[in-house]
Structures are given as C-alpha cells and as structure tokens.
C-alpha cells in the first residue's frame, strides 16, 4: 500500500538547536501510528513540520511526502491549502485552540463556509451533524454555546468535530487527551478509533503515554533527543523492545501488576539540546553503553530475525532485556 504520509530524513534546526535530527516514518491509509517521546524529544516539532506550522527561522531539510507530493519542495501556501481539508490537527489544550468569543457551532462550520462557500445556514446544519457524530449531546442547542460553556471533554470533541469538518484523510492528534480525566480520555480515544474505522483516515497520534499507545496504535515510533530510536508494530516493540530507552520507559511505568518495591527509573536527565552528547544521544543514561556508543551515533536498522519492520538505533540491541 502506498503510504499516505512519508517523512524521510527530516531535520529541523532552530539556530544552534537541532530539534529533529533525521527522522523517517510512514503513515499508511487507515493506520494509527503513535509518535512517542518525552518533553524535548522532537515529536511535536516533527508534526508541526508536516502541518507547515513551524515558526519562521526554522531550518527544515529532508522530505515530507503527502499523497505523492513533497510538501517541503513546494510553496508553503500549498501545504496551508491541504491543512484543514486533507490534513487536520487537534491539540492538547482545546480551550486555547478555540476562540472564546465565537459560538462553537460557528467555529466548527467555519472551514466549510470559507473554503467550500457554504451558507451560514448550511454550515450550522453541518456543525450540528458533526457534533452529533462526535457524541456531543443535544447538539441543536449546544451549537450556539460558547467554548467556556463546554467541559474539557466536550471542548475536545468540538475540536475533533472541527478537524473532521472537511473529511481529512490524515488526522494528526497532538496529546489529545493529556489534559483530560481518565474516564473522559477513554471516551475520546474510543471516539477517535471509531471515526478512523468509519472514515478510513490515517491517524498520527503524538503522545508521551505508553498505555494510550498500547490501546490504539498499530505502529509506534519512539523518539529521543530528536531521533527515532525504535519503531515497529506496537505489540512487537512492547514485547520485544530492542532499545535501552524503550526498555527504560516501559519499566518506568507503574503498571497493573501492582506494587513493586521500587520502580526502575531511567537515571539522569534528558540531554541539553544546546550541548547534545556525542555518539548515541542516550549513552549517558544507558546501562548498556560501551565505548562505541560514546563515539558513534547508531543508525536505525532492521533488527535481524524480528518481523514487522522492527527497527532500532542501538549498537547493542541484543543486550536489551537479556
């Protein structure tokens, strides 16, 4: 299957800081890919590059091919045209993404009115329809509410309705449930999974939450210090992790097996982006690091003997979990 989105060797620099350092991954139609990482890993910057949302002054190289067209090789105006129609994005904090002085319904229908020339009346009907689809109760009445009259979960539903307005083929969701309570998070993740199934759109989910990933993602891309450190199908990576960072993350999560005396944290702190360590960026925190890790940065390669495109950027994948 032709990928819907294909990112190759993406690099993003802000002055002296390399935020994204040679990232490659694909999203197939109808697939959910989770881009996972902690603060400063470059996961959000990667997706902002896809959406053409990087601030001026960002230096971007590599290629971002959407549906056969390299977005980086074309004028930004073309990317902008795709955004909202073919590509749509939802953000972590729905309150700061909604305009407080416009009614929710009007914001949901705005793209239909402005881009497709629909009348306000058609727009309103469209908004009611979308609000019903994302599970906002009593949409005929709530279409005239302002954002502050919505709860956090309802605002995120309104954001999703807005993103779905023109039937995108790829939805990028940046930490869509991080600000929400866990019961509401479950509702929103279920909604996204249902919508993806119904519409066949691709879903790129940016998150730090390994549990959320396990429940919804077909494939996972793990990032550390601007690079992809491991990728593969979710189950393969979780059950046979082959990068020390992945292993460390999975061990850090207090999981449902109950109380261990101690969690096994990853020692140290993420690297300072102004002074990244030489060699493998993870080596100062890695329990398996040897001389070669301090000297050479490992490249992302297929793991011998493992299925499903399982790749890792580690000099000693065989040591992990052994």
């Amino acid at each position: 299957m032709e990928p819907l989105l294909s990112v190759r060797d993406l690099r993003v620099r802000f002055g002296p800081v390399t935020a994204v350092d040679g990232v490659s991954f694909d999203v197939l139609p109808g697939e959910t890919v989770a881009v996972v990482g902690e603060s400063g890993s470059g996961k959000s910057v990667t997706m902002q590059a896809v959406m053409g949302l990087l601030p001026r002054g960002a230096e971007v190289t590599g290629s971002i091919v959407y549906d056969g067209r390299d977005l980086l090789a074309r004028p930004i105006a073309e990317t902008r045209k795709l955004c909202g129609t073919e590509l749509a994005m939802i953000f972590q904090d729905p309150l700061s993404s909604l305009n407080p002085v416009f009614r929710v319904g009007r914001q949901i229908s705005e793209s239909l009115v402005r881009r497709r020339g629909a009348s306000r009346k058609q727009g309103r009907a469209h908004a009611v329809d979308l609000m019903r689809r994302v599970g906002i109760p009593d949409p005929e009445r709530r279409v005239d509410d302002f954002p502050h009259q919505f709860s956090g979960g309802m605002r995120q539903r309104a954001m999703i309705a807005m993103a779905l307005s023109l039937g995108p083929r790829l939805l990028i969701a940046d930490e869509p449930t991080t600000a929400l309570d866990v019961t509401v998070q479950a509702q929103i993740m279920r909604l996204l999974a249902d919508l993806r199934r119904e519409t066949g759109m691709g879903l790129a989910l940016i998150t730090h939450d390994l549990g959320v990933v396990a429940g919804v993602a077909d494939r996972v891309v793990l990032m550390y210090a601007g690079r992809v450190v491991e990728t593969g199908t979710t189950r393969e990576v979780y059950d046979h992790q082959a990068h020390p960072y992945t292993e460390g993350l999975l061990l850090s999560v207090p999981d449902d097996t109950g109380r261990a005396d101690h969690l096994v944290p990853i020692p140290g702190q993420p690297p300072n982006p102004l002074r990244p360590p030489g060699g493998c960026p993870f080596h100062p925190r890695c329990r398996y690091a040897i001389d070669v890790c301090r000297a050479d940065a490992p490249v992302l390669v297929d793991l011998a003997g493992r299925p499903d495109g399982h790749r890792t950027a580690c000099h000693r994948p065989e040591a992990v979990g052994a």
């Binding site: 866990v182 509401v184 061990l251 999560v253 109380r259 969690l263 702190q269």
Partner: protein
Amino acid sequence: MTADGADPATPVIPGERSDAVPVAIQTDTLLSVRELRTGFPIRSALLRRTVGRIDAVAGVSFDLRAGETLGLVGESGSGKSTIARTIVGLARASSGSVVFDGTDLTAAGPEELRRRRRDIQMIFQDPYASLNPRRTVRDLVTEGWQIHPDVVPRRRWDAEVADLLERVGLDPAHADRYPHQFSGGQRQRIGIARALALRPRLLICDEPVSALDVSIQAQVLNLLSDLQRDLGLTYLFISHDLSVVRHVADRVAVLYLGTIVEEADRDDIFAAPAHPYTRALLSAVPRLRPWRDTGPAPVPLTGDVPSPAHPPSGCRFRTRCPVAEDRCATDVPVLVPRGGHPVACHLAGDPR
C-alpha cells in the same frame, strides 16, 4: 481498613441503631477528618453578591494512621485538592473537623495553628509554578526556618541545606542556583527538600508527579518512598492517576463530586472494586500490554461530572451510573462496609 467493620474511618451514620459500639480513635491515628465540608461562594458578575455556594468537599471523613500512605483518587471536580488545601489551611472548612495529633485545626487559635502547620507540609503538582523564580534554592529551603526559628539554629543552616539537598538527590553545590537552572524533576526535588526542611510528620503530595515525564516520575516516586521509610513520614497522596496510586498507597479512597464513594486497602480496591464509579475508573486506565491480560471489563461512562453547584439528588454519581435505580435518585447512600469494605452505593450489597 479491616474487614470487621470496627474501623475508625466508618462515619457515624445519623439515625443508625443506637446500640452500635462507639469506635475509639486508635492511638496511632495521626490525622482524622470528620464530615468535612469546604465551600466556596458563587458571586454574581455584576455586584459580586453571593448568589450561591459550591460545596467542593461535601462531607468527607477519613483517618490517616502514622506511617501509612492514603491515596486520594478522583477526577477534576472531585474535591481532592480542596481537601488538601483545607488540611494545610489554604482553604477554610465550612463545617466538620480536621484533627491532627489531637488538635482540631478548624477550631485552633492562631498560635496553635502556627505550631501545627510545621508538622504538615505540602508538595505541589507544578514544580515550575510553586517555586519563586527569584529565590535561590538555599533561600527556598531556608524560608521555613525564618518563620520557625527554633527548628534549625542559623549557624547550622548551611550544613542542613546541604544535608537536605543530598537527601533529595540534588548536588549541594547547586544551592545558590535559581529554579530555572533545573529540570522539572529536579525542581520537584527542590519542592520536596523545602517541604522536609521543617521536619514535618505529614506530607501532603498533591499530584506530585503528574507534570513530569514518565522516566522522571519513577525517580521522584522512588525518592518519596525512600524518604517515607527513612524519616517515618505519613503521606496523603492525591492523584488522578490510578497506576501511580496503586504503586504508592497502602489504602485508597475514591472521591466523586466531593464525597468518598469507596475506601479500602490497596489490594482490595484494585482486586474487588465495589462502587460502579471505581469500576469505571479502573477500567478506563490504559493498560500497558492489553493483549497479555484480560483486565477489568470496560465500564464506559457517558457524560461529564455534574457541576458541584447543582449536585444530583440522592447518589451524586447516579446521572452517569450504568446501574442506577429509582432509589438512587432519592436516597443518599452512606459510606459503610458492604461486603468487604466501605462503599457508598445502594447496589453494592447490604450495609453491615
């Protein structure tokens, strides 16, 4: 909590049989909260007149034994942070009592309170917002000693600061740095050092790791458990994250809209949740490897938490409850042992 029902956390139920044995407060109870209500006025936009009241905490009772960790779990609007703020004196109780080591903090005079506050310290969620950016780590840690000069004599300050920083895993040589020079996890360590400076007996941890990255969360959770072991601290651990609470707590109380709906030993509440809300909450926690275990059957909740300004009649959870019956709209369920441990639900078995 013991299964025999003779537990100090069992609230006195009005109108119950009068031959019930009065429960003595156990000697090792450090904190005893009874029928606590904390409300806030709703003011009109125009004249700032009080037009109503929100009971963020609507009658909560629990006990905390010395040396244990009680996890308070709930979602937004459950009142968990307001309980914490009431205990440390950042919010005023409208009624009820908060008895710490024999002193009712809601009735104590200012001098008594000042002395007691030393014993109760708090760690906040956001290590970025809770530290004054213009103070060095040394200033932040010693601030409490200026207010309570009898804790550490001034000539010992430098040595004590170094000890504290070392204890929380920071380099004592960094005492003259400012908060912005530290990462999120390190800032939370500063917050912990600051809380420990007054040698408290009770530490209230309000979402202490929620703002931290996963790999750093584990470091801070381990630090808290080491400190508890070494210093004999008692923790009231507030979190929305059930997997974190499961890791740290000895007992767990689940809050919904200002009331406790279930309370039990950690293993009991995770193995045999009895309240429909607890079940829903547990089933909503994303599991790390859902393909390996079966886990709890999903109990999907619809809708949102109602506004505490207009709580539902009867059981506060009934508007979202998948098994609610008619009586749930009329009768308020009380938190009494039903089956194994205290549950506030009409359908969780007969009260004993």
